[in-house]
Symmetry: C2
Subunit: 598 residues, 2 copies
């Protein structure tokens, strides 16, 4: 199995030349996070991830986390120690507010850290990811008292966090949840109910766990309008900050999963557990959206990250493994990297991963603009763009996570199917990412249902125009860029056609819009990827590094010619409407129509 | 977990109306296998698979096969008993020659049986599949003495077979194998060497195992021209047919695999084991090709079969699981089958599976023509078509196996990632199918390297013309078929453009042809699928079953509009040549070009 190599050079190039990080670093509050500082920090972080976290990945898969007879959860060997090192080094705090002990770095930097963390060990990295989600919710809606009591130790990582949304009958339909919250005399609430799919719902890596729990107060409205959000600590916290009595939150069982075996996925039972309201009653969904939007970009980064790790492994294998003789090769046998079809699989990974990294960092940079730009109009527009790009990053990013890890496995041939090789683990681990934090179908529904119609469609059309600005740059960059320019123009046109169809169809026929939502989202993923690679190629051509310029041009051209055209091929599916999807009843779908021996 | 429902109605319709089975049954030797008889037989076979074999699938995955301290291999509970039932019922013998106790049924019928067997339990079904490969080799090249001694008990299933090709250094490059065969005084050979990835190399389901082993005799030419094929029984066979001494073939270890856990994948060590030459020395590859070609169509059927099983499960789940409220739905919650995006996933599975089944049965029907048609010209042409379609069936069929089982998992949401649901097993089990029996990249190389140039390209161009014949039928079928007709025309044109480019580029630039081979093969898979669905729709319209006609029309239209257009989008990739694939060296592929903090 190959050693993980943090892609610092790729990330640094992306920050400096592709997503305009130097401008982010100039925003108020980020002055200390200049590019040189950030790259040095990422370099150190990458070293930590490669040396302390990545080596635990395979063992974590084999060993898994287990519920002990005493009701506690034991994580794999080495996890507790590595987590302590992570806390000591303070990597989790880098993008968090300085007021609570964080580093105050931009989200863009946080995303780059997260990519490397996910690559090193996806199952391990989920614990801090969920903690960060809980921190975000508290930061936005918690009272000062709650913040002061919980945030410092969560920011430092000494305490970890969870998100408790799902119940057996309430998955994608969060509004169907039934966990109860009844106010106590002291103003706290008694929480009772069962939650499932709780990532790191219990573990042995930290002394305390802070659960964020969605529940209903008596008489609350039905559906999502009657949901409140509570903080429920594993141990009650005394006024002096020390840990008090154990709250009645029990781990009922752990799930047996296809992947991320080291990450304990818990069924949690709350029996009159003491909880504290965050924000107002019945406003819990608003809080969850804060956590979910950050988490969705983070899950997109998981797709990127595991694909990167799998790609590195397949690239190494392709250079080591010798089989047969490539055309024109000397010697008895050739490394399989010399065979065109293996090259195709490598280039598909390389180009898709580069595009995805640029796209995710761009989205993160808009998050930073939306929070820190002094101009309210810029902030507002950045917020719109984050809303548009985030479902694309989550859905396209995790679809690619599945597709690219499978390509990496394929390069290994029969060895890829053998677990000791490690290639299969990446395929198994990343499979959940297209499902959790809102299935990819939910992301597509969000894109066409919530994001498309902002300002009557003007918001999305402005983004189309923003992407079109690359055309003049490609024209100015010379004939080597002609193919990229022509193909982008063709595919942008297809995507714009789909957008106009969606806007026109819109509210009058929502089922038809939803019917085309997933292909439409993929069209966006392909176009934004081709666009970002074109931006990178144009930017690289302006540096004095001929090798880099050539490399980025090849990636942009390969993508434009060989992968991007799938966009236009989806136009039919995006705009076909819902009729054919609903034309067959369950009987016909089951294929039982033909009368045998009729 | 859902019960497996054998798709008898779908198969019967395909046989009767889509692939012309009634004409196959009229060929000399198949007279006893008329359609009614076959459908009744398939119905009984399906019942057996559903009741005796399918229920062992999940337990087989959990338990796996294990190498015991005494060197024997123990299969999961119930496997031995089910195998005995399978032998008693005689299902394996149905398509085998009557001379050795088989049923003498066409290969087309054998493929339909195989589909149901694979759906019921892929890991279990591999044992008879490998046996059949060994039988094929003996039938074609074995001496009468070898045939009489081994075939009857292999045909009955009492003895099972294996294929021993791969060695650690010899995977896709079979010619690199080093296992030695030295002739003994009695004419037999002493076989010494280590083989890996031997499916059912040892097990406890049958008393005897017949290994087919590729090895080199002293002084044999290098590469594939120096390979000989031997039969090496686990136990020597006495002249009276009873079992004699144990041959020195040891099971060194079993692999830990991503899927098909119940199927023991063995490392076998031969130490002067007694083997018997099949055919002539140094002609072993020819024999292996006989086995491989049959096996490749069979592996394509695995993609179809596991996709069908996963689809059935996802269809059932989509009807049971209630979440949220669909647009226009009454009641508090809707089954998720009412949501357009879930419908898209179901329809994509349904249409792709139907197309694949038609295509595989068509390929099998050409196998039958190639062996049993009285007209040598018809046999020769059928043989060419088998050569063309088989790599497409194997590669496209198993790629779809991966893609469609993943869609089925996705429909289950978070439950899909939980192993108890069973959806993940299908994804894990089928992942190997794109690798073994020649990776899908090898299939694409076979298509462009061996099949494209037959008769200077005339063979493949004639098949293009055959597909074009559907145009007149679609025109005659009326305006409902217009969309299918137009889209097929457009996509056939794209495919023909690619074929002409391949033929023109051809021998002068083989690397460029290989560079486009995988996208080109996928274009073929898409076009032949769209074509078969169109044939089915036209045929269904001619029956007096309006419901069936509507169903087949919807499937053909959905595919033509929403899936088939991917074909033309791959034209760029198929015809781009090799330059961009080889433009980046390993350093640039590793993304290390940018000088950090330059």
């Amino acid at each position: 199995m190959s050693q993980y190599q943090p892609p610092i050079a790729d990330i640094a190039f992306a920050l400096e030349h592709v997503v305009g990080y130097p401008d982010i670093a100039k925003l108020p509050g980020f002055e200390h996070a200049d590019l040189d500082t950030v790259v040095e920090l990422l370099d150190q972080c990458g070293e930590f991830m490669a040396e302390a976290v990545a080596p635990l990945n395979r063992q974590g898969d084999v060993q898994g986390s287990h519920l002990q007879p005493d009701g506690t959860v034991k994580t794999p060997d080495g996890f507790k120690e590595a987590y302590q090192q992570y806390v000591d080094a303070g990597w989790g705090a880098v993008p968090l507010p300085e007021q609570y002990g964080g580093g105050g770095f931009p989200r863009t930097v946080g995303l780059a850290i997260q990519e490397m963390f996910n690559s090193a060990n996806l199952a391990f990295s989920l614990c801090p990811l969920l903690t960060q989600g809980a921190i975000d919710a508290l930061l936005h809606y918690g009272s000062d008292e709650l913040k002061d009591r919980y945030l410092p130790k969560m920011v430092s990582g000494e305490w970890t966090g969870t998100m408790n949304l799902t119940e057996p009958q309430a998955g994608s339909d969060v509004g169907a949840l039934t966990t109860k919250a009844v106010q106590n005399a002291d103003g706290s609430y008694a929480i009772t109910g069962q939650k499932i799919f709780i990532t790191y719902g219990d573990h042995d890596m930290a002394e305390q766990i802070i659960h964020l729990v969605l529940a209903r107060t008596p008489g609350a409205p039905e559906g999502t309008r009657g949901i409140s959000c509570f903080i429920v600590p594993k141990y009650l916290v005394n006024d002096d900050g020390s840990l008090g009595a154990r709250n009645p939150v029990e781990t009922v069982s752990l799930e047996h999963k296809m992947g991320i075996h080291a990450s304990p996925t818990c069924v949690l039972s709350y029996e009159n557990a003491t909880g504290y309201l965050i924000g107002e009653e019945n406003k819990g969904m608003r809080i969850m959206f804060v956590m979910m939007n950050a988490a969705r970009l983070g899950v997109g980064a998981q797709g990127l990250a595991v694909a990167e790790r799998a790609y590195q492994q397949s690239l190494e294998y392709a250079q080591d493994r010798r089989q047969g003789q490539a055309i024109g090769a000397a010697g008895a046998s050739s490394a399989i990297i010399e065979f065109p079809d293996v090259r195709r699989m490598l280039m598909t990974q390389r180009a898709s991963i580069a595009a995805l990294r640029y796209l995710l960092l761009l989205d993160a940079s808009y998050v930073d603009s939306s929070t820190n730009d002094p101009d309210p109009a810029v902030r507002a527009r950045a917020d719109e763009i984050v809303g548009l790009l985030t479902p694309i990053c989550k859905s396209f990013g995790t679809d690619l996570g599945n597709e690219l890890t499978s390509l990496a496995l394929q390069i290994h041939g029969g060895m890829g199917f053998i677990e000791e090789t490690g290639a299969a683990q990446h395929v198994r681990d990343i499979r959940i990412a297209a499902i959790y934090e809102g299935t990819n179908g939910i992301q597509a529904a969000d894109l066409v249902g919530r994001k498309l119609g902002i300002r009557g469609g003007a918001s999305i059309m402005e983004f189309h125009a923003t992407m079109r600005e690359i055309d003049a740059e490609l024209a100015a960059a010379g004939p080597d860029f002609a193919l990229v320019r022509e193909e982008l123009d063709r595919q942008f046109t297809a995507l714009e056609t789909a957008t106009k169809w969606m806007l026109k169809t819109g509210l009058g026929d929502p089922n038809s819009v939803l019917a085309g939502s997933s292909p439409y989202l993929r069209m966006w993923g392909l176009c934004t990827s081709g666009w970002m690679l074109a931006r990178a190629a144009v930017a690289a051509a302006k540096t004095d590094d001929a090798r880099l310029a050539q490399e980025q041009l090849v990636l942009a051209r390969f993508y434009a010619q060989q992968l991007l055209p799938q966009c236009a091929s989806l136009l039919g599916a995006a705009t076909a409407g819902a009729d054919d999807l609903f034309a067959l009843d369950a009987h016909s779908l089951a294929g039982a129509s033909f009368k045998v021996n009729s």
